[in-house]
Symmetry: C2
């Protein structure tokens, strides 16, 4: 495909980042560095970011963005071409309301969330928008107000929800690439989401239930066997939904995980911070979609129920331990 780089510069899309956390803060910073106009929406950190700017420490170089265009979610925000959804799915009960003032005819909604079926709801609520999923492979933490520490990776896999989004893919790739972010495009959104679940379902849930990072799971034969069992059930779900994994994909994922440095999956980070866990979109929605196609993922179901239990306990009382 021929890309006219000169035109691209003058035609750079503008972005609104909904959620200035570990993920939104990192990608917003990179888009700014690539020369895009970027508006940030923050919640509790908004005054700190307005007064002190956004800090992103990264192996790519430490950056401090100040002054910076930051808004509360109740503020009027200038229209952007692209609205990036960088809130956790636990906020999705209010996502449509938050997006309403930000989405106009032709707006691109770029959804960075983990899970399944989020784009269906966005497409139903915003028929005037183009919906694109941005699957993030990012290791990044918010360590303080307006302060993000990027540790590793950062790949964004873009997949359009339907034909309309296709026209935007190249422009988005350019905007991310300009900021030094590795970016790729995937032909099937559904396949991309199930492939990501193949890692997320075993490693997020088990990191919480077993109380360990990924290396702790991979180092124990029983924990590793359970991760593999869960991954195999995700493969059954993906196949039932018409997007089977290719041969060797799961072995590849396990191999990557074995070679990773110690890593706390996002659900473990949330658990330790006593935040609500992303159980609905990462577990219950995939279970529901598989069930619609006649596939029951029993072990995943068992893990989801345990996660619901520990999540409830974690956010109500100080839980003293396994026993």
């Amino acid at each position: 495909m021929l890309i006219d780089g000169g035109q691209m510069t003058s035609n750079k899309p503008s972005f609104t980042i909904l959620g200035t956390g570990a993920l939104g803060g990192f990608y917003g910073s990179r888009l700014l560095l690539g020369g895009a106009e970027v508006r940030f929406i923050a919640n509790s950190d908004v005054e700190h970011i307005r007064d002190h700017g956004l800090r992103v420490d990264s192996p790519l170089g430490d950056r401090h963005h100040f002054p910076i265009a930051v808004y509360r979610d109740s503020d009027p925000v200038p229209a952007s071409d692209v609205v990036c959804v960088a809130l956790k799915t636990t906020q999705n009960h209010r996502l449509i309301e938050l997006l309403k003032p930000l989405v106009h005819e032709g707006t691109v909604i770029l959804n960075f969330q983990n899970g399944l079926t989020m784009e269906d709801e966005l497409a139903a609520a915003f028929p005037e928008a183009s919906i694109i999923a941005g699957l993030c492979f990012l290791c990044s933490n918010k360590v303080g107000p307006g302060h993000i520490v990027h540790l590793d990776s950062g790949l964004v896999s873009l997949a359009s929800y339907d034909e309309r989004g296709q026209a935007w893919i190249e422009r988005l790739m350019d905007a991310f690439s300009a900021g030094g972010v590795q970016v790729e495009t995937l032909p099937s959104l559904l396949k991309a989401r199930w492939r990501k679940l193949a890692w997320n379902i075993p490693f997020n849930g088990l990191s919480v239930l077993l109380g360990v990072d990924t290396d702790g799971i991979m180092a124990d034969a029983h924990a590793r066997g359970l991760a593999k069992q869960l991954m195999e059930e995700v493969a059954v779900g993906a196949a039932a939904c018409g997007v089977p994994f290719e041969a060797g994909f799961m072995e590849h994922l396990l191999d990557i995980t074995r070679k990773m440095p110690t890593y706390a999956p996002s659900m473990r980070v949330d658990y330790l911070a006593k935040r609500e866990l992303e159980i609905e979109f990462m577990y219950e929605r995939p279970l529901r979609e598989a069930a619609k196609q006649g596939a029951r993922l029993s072990a995943v179901e068992a893990i989801a129920r345990q996660l619901r239990y520990v999540d409830g306990l974690n956010r109500t009382v100080h839980h003293l331990g396994l026993s």
Copy 2:
């Protein structure tokens, strides 16, 4: 069936109790009270029991047996008609060796253990013996050396492994009844064992993994839902093995459990005492038997793997908590 009570008295069987813990201590005490000759085999408590006797506190009356016939497992023990296996299945790697000096032509091996397939191994190792299972519904704890506290229940369900044991069932029922123990006979050993697993598999495992007693499981919709999911898988296993549960059986078990006072299943007691958990015979053997019949119990399999993980951790390091 006509029972000649007079003859029974003169024909009372003698017992050796292999394992003088919460279970063996209680039933041995009741058999003594019923007038039977009873020999106890103990391990670490043997000297204490020899010097101070066996105490059993119970709603049925507090008892102190002294002097008492107690032996180390390495001592020569006079031959008894019945050898009661009251060791946990975690000791089964040495069970055959322990039984060898105790079993003679015609000895009855009465197996009190939880799980599945133990009788197959006993029958293979001791073709000269009659094998009978005694499924115990007992709430009892060992609180100190030679000191048992019986809290509730005590029903023994007897089921013979094969035809040979049948001749002994009535005599065993009389011996237990004489000691005030409620006793019944069941026609199918395999069915009795699967029915017991229907409770043990969900409530033992979840009490460890969720860190609560039975009431904590029943009080939470997700934990209760998971218990029900596991019980339904046990039903699939039982049906695959040719002993399907009757309609309403699982609802009955859940109803009983809901009405129980707070109760710590034996696996939770073992976990808290940092003892090895009975995972092989309570989980892995049933999984294997179901698999032989083509049934995969995926959620039970997931729970078994988690139990293996936490059991390993529990017995190697001081585990600080869920996270």
